[in-house]
Symmetry: C2
Subunit: 681 residues, 2 copies
């Protein structure tokens, strides 16, 4: 069977894409970066999906691959190329030699080069000789993107390495070296693969100079271990937390066919995976009606607020700089999820463009999320209560010290929650013993966790009952008491404003601002209002950096909560296509909005920006408890009733009393549970 | 053993309290309303707790009861009395004949009187004769509090009944009558127990007059059934949702001793239950250190925004008007929770003051809430991941059509989530066929769900490492680029402002406003900062009614997000002690703050207001999907590391692959799960 247009490239298709490029660049050294599905133009896919949903066999679309690679020129200088090839026909459809002002996303092999360059650098060796690592401690170099170029810097491709000391006495390679931060950062020029500079970092506290001063020989002598692997914990793991198992004796309620097609409780969608965005949902339908063409995590940025050099550069774009998919964990059973789990694999490629299976990068499972709805008739004592089952599509990424858990959670009542969890190890720098800082919090002796923000952007390409939608801003406003419309002062007014042209808007608590993605051509037969899906813009702080700073200029997407744009093929990235070492957001949301496209009853895209200002607490150390955010999409006059009103309401027979008794005396069959009181509402 | 000062009154203590009152009012008709524990003065309890926590046997405190009752005078007019009696000594400690300007909270027997009054009312009969209920439909009268008196109304004690028609053809007493709202409301005078008025309700739509006009004989002929009990669903309950069981083979991890003392994963606290607030937590300690003296749901108000008469009165205070405890559901196994469940009973009293056990009004269970923390060392491929276990103390109340689920959720990392879920059946009024309204949404033919708000208030009486605490407002502010403190523009400033005197404050997204409840005398040894628990004021819309309206005047607490007051014994209620038919909030938060008490390093109380503006959607019908809100309290520099760092990180052996395979090939023991990628952060 021909692959579906949304299916990620197969092993064979990836190989074919590579071979096409090699043939197009004969007698040339090629450094492959990424090969993944280039989605077909929406106009073509729409026709395909129409046929598919009409129950016909659609004409298969030719398969396309995006191939990202460096051509190594005669001077051994890499030139970054992007080609779109038609894997079906073997033809190249598009070829772009990317200008030197832009940098390709990082790849794993490049990071290895940095570590090698540090090892052989005389300059770094000299720096190290100024210090004494404590006996039994070894240097660890943690590769990082260089960050946004500061004014005056030449736009070369750089890498930097954060340095730590690891206690080797335990002979445990997972001893937590982040507790021992070293105050210098080697910088590599990617073209020469040499360390060109070692930046020294100030280790002072409040009131101390911003520039590094003289330093002790042993900069980590005041640092203390803080372990997280169970065998290194001073008292081992706790033993009084008894097992809690999720058991699904009849198996899961979901069905996966065709590799990527998932069906569950009225939902029908496809999942794909690519190196930049990780897992993406496509063609979401609920109860046979279209909701969303494409749903993805588009970008995130993590700017740090330490005013000292070189931390103005410390700002990751974890999707654009390296790729969320590239950094995805290979999950395995029982650790990351409970219950019955289905995993999805993906394909990664090496520097030669050769494909390899990346196992278990996405997991799928069901979970219980408490009560879905309940009503008790106090007259009869009859209580009817349904549980809130969710279907979770999850992937987890590791970015050196930090982890993010991304999940799309669909529920039985038509709701979609898009969830982020931030965890992992907060980024720390060395601070002198006994000092405090305005730039962060001392979370372990000698380790300053710098204040920072995490700002995410979710991209929603809606198709609410069809592709032409209008975003409507709905606000609830007080109305001054007046004889005509509000004689007793209790009335408030609901004001609806359609978004007629591409624009941004911010969350507004005072007016309870909500965005409804409506289909103005389809009316709910009961309410007479246009069908819609709605969400509340998330009320989290936007980017704090000065508007004129590099941090702010390259993250314009992070400065407003919601953006509405008109769909354009390939426009997937909130901060633009090239974020690595960028100094300005190019082709990102601000540029898209600038077009001032008509967005009324059009094929629109809605973007939601949110995040957390993370001023660390000691409890975030050594591995931080998850910080959870959820964008909640809800049907609003989309369906003709609560879509979960027919959920099972019978008792769960597996539950037990704390004394071990099994399901206690019921006082009625089929969902009754005792009398309720006798009151008002 | 003597009861603990926080234990709710026992059956016998309740009886004794009743008998004391009867003896004090000989030869008098007494109508008992409520009898429950009057907590001992904090000064006494503090001494008791000091001894208890020092491992000594504290001197027992005398037990006190609050008894609320009407003395029926010679003219048969009830006079409302409140007495505090010492159950141990048999003495009355306090007696208050409450002024006629205040009304006692409603009781169940009073509601029965309303239904009886309607049945025998000639006035109501006449009204009903103007209408024809469809064949096979019967009248249902739903008792409601009268609401806030409108200007000019005499301050008598009133009841009102919302009227509906129930289809009896199914012979099912749980057929949903709310689909058939009738356009009139009988009003009873409590003193005479007679229907004194039948308010007619307008049924028009947008542009129609606000006053009721001529009406059709059969006002519900255009209404349609919308059932929620499984046996009445047209297609029955869905069959493709397979069971998901929570199984705890070794039993729960919590321990309940002494009836009310709960210990779990470092947490130690007591739970009590009373008619007004429902479940209350007392004396919360985490890992042997005090966090909170008392944690409770204090009040909520539900004002409706329909500008027509009589809906300016439609505003419930569900804690003050009737009592959350009074309305609590008797829970039973497997419907409301999964896993291993422990129930707590309470005591209710009847009009004669006789106690009766109210079984299962509170439930206690553990639940899994996804990943607690994770880190993968990309060098070694070692992933360590812990699950987020929570302990839930839950109660559920039914207020005629509406349900609320209240939960205190403690986690293993020192966090406390205080959760509300709104569900049940939205309040509807009759609307003519085919019309739409500015006052709400038509959710079922002929049924207009009016726009309204739910505004909750949580009361926190903190004791962070001791009783004297300071609330500190912490904000993150941008700083303009400047040579001296912010040369590259990436710095932001964290500004801390202690709350020196009682005041209110609002949420502020722009500054990421956070409230830290600190103990200024205790310093975290690592960060050097005061130990604290923090929360972000919830960014939800405040009360919308005009400030001069009765709705607003009686709900001042609902007009700011956070209130900081100095502790005063008995000051538990955000909207004041007497809310029923109130026209102004008396003794509530605004009055408390007015005292301008010193609140720095004092015994403070912190109140959090939040809620939802509920402009109903069709999907909220017939029973609405839960709307969830969570106040998140987190330790901030309270502990010396992540308190959950020693959580078990081993695989869950009960999880399965979707194909039925058991725990798949592991690639490492003890919490490792595969390699992770190689990247930055």
């Amino acid at each position: 069977m021909a692959p579906h247009p949304f299916d990620q490239l197969s092993f064979e298709e990836t190989q074919r894409a590579r071979d096409i490029i090699l043939k197009l660049h004969p007698d040339t050294a090629i450094f492959f970066r990424y090969i993944f599905l280039e989605e077909a133009p929406k106009a073509e896919v729409k026709k395909y999906l129409e046929a598919e949903h009409a129950g016909k066999t659609p004409d298969p679309l030719n398969r396309r691959a995006m191939v990202m690679y460096d051509v190594i020129d005669s001077d051994k200088v890499p030139v970054y190329n992007e080609s779109v090839v038609d894997v079906t026909s073997g033809k190249r459809l598009d070829h772009n030699v990317v200008g030197k002002e832009f940098h390709a996303s990082l790849t794993v092999p490049e990071f290895r080069l940095l570590v090698q360059a540090v090892e052989k650098s005389e300059m770094f060796k000299k720096c190290l000789e100024e210090y004494h690592l404590p006996k039994g401690y070894e240097l660890v170099v943690e590769p990082w993107p260089y960050g946004g170029l500061l004014p005056g810097e030449e736009n070369r491709r750089y890498f930097q390495g954060l340095c730590f000391a690891q206690d080797t006495s335990s002979k445990n390679a997972d001893s937590n070296f982040y507790s021992f931060p070293l105050p210098f950062i080697p910088v590599m020029d990617a073209a020469t693969q040499e360390i060109v500079r070692v930046d020294r970092i100030a280790t002072g506290g409040r009131g101390d100079p911003m520039e590094p001063e003289s330093h002790p020989k042993n900069p980590v002598d005041h640092c203390t271990p803080s372990e997280y692997v169970p065998e290194l914990l001073p008292n081992g793991p706790r033993k009084d937390l008894k097992p809690l198992d999720v058991v699904q004796p009849e198996g899961p309620s979901f069905k996966v066919t065709d590799d990527s097609l998932i069906e569950w409780q009225g939902w029908r969608f496809r999942v794909s995976f690519n190196p930049r965005e990780g897992a993406v949902l496509h063609d979401l339908h609920f109860k046979g009606r279209s909701v969303m063409y494409r749903l993805s995590f588009s970008e995130m940025t993590v700017p740090y607020a330490d005013a000292r050099y070189p931390f103005a550069r410390k700002q990751a774009f974890d999707f654009g700089d390296g790729g969320a998919g590239t950094c995805a964990n290979n999950l395995s059973l029982g650790c990351d999820c409970l219950g019955v789990i289905k995993y999805f694999d993906s394909i990664v490629t090496d520097a030669e463009g050769k494909p390899e299976v990346a196992p278990n990068v996405v997991c799928l499972h069901e979970q219980d999320n408490g009560i879905a709805w309940k009503h008790t008739n106090w007259r009869t004592g009859r209580a009817v209560v349904a549980r809130n089952r969710e279907l979770v599509v999850q992937f987890i990424i590791t970015l050196a010290n930090y982890e993010y858990i991304f999940a799309y959670k669909l529920d039985t009542m038509g709701g979609i929650n898009v969830e982020t969890r931030a965890t992992g190890i907060v980024s720390v720098v060395n601070i002198d013993a006994g000092k405090q800082s305005d730039y962060g919090n001392v979370v372990s002796e000698g380790a300053l966790a710098q204040n920072h923000q995490h700002i995410f952007c979710i991209r929603m390409d809606p198709a609410v009952d069809g592709h032409n939608n209008t975003a409507v801003i709905e606000e609830s406003h007080p109305v001054a008491m007046n004889e005509k419309t509000n004689p007793r002062g209790n009335y408030y007014e609901v004001i609806k404003t359609p978004v007629k042209n591409s624009r941004w808007l911010d969350a507004d608590v005072a007016s309870n601002r909500v965005v409804k993605i409506t289909n103005p051509s389809k009316t709910n037969p009961i309410s007479g209002r246009p069908v819609s899906y709605k969400f509340a813009p998330m009320t989290t702080q936007l980017l704090l950096a000065d508007k004129n700073s590099v941090q702010a200029q390259r993250a314009l997407f992070a400065q407003h909560h919601v953006w509405v744009t008109k769909h354009t093929d390939g426009e997937l990235y909130a901060a633009g296509r090239y974020t690595l070492q960028s100094t300005r957001e190019e082709g990102g949301l601000a540029d898209m909005v600038e077009r001032n496209d008509n967005t009324e009853n059009e094929d629109i895209v809605v973007w939601a920006t949110f995040g957390l200002t993370h001023n660390p607490r000691v409890e975030d150390w050594p591995v931080m408890p998850v910080e959870i955010h959820e964008l909640k999409l809800r049907p609003a006059d989309f369906w003709h009733e609560n879509p979960g009103i027919d959920l099972p309401t019978n008792k769960n027979e597996a539950s037990r009393l704390a004394n071990g008794d099994s399901c206690c005396s019921t006082n009625g069959a089929n969902g009754t549970n005792g009398h309720a009181p006798n009151f008002m509402g």
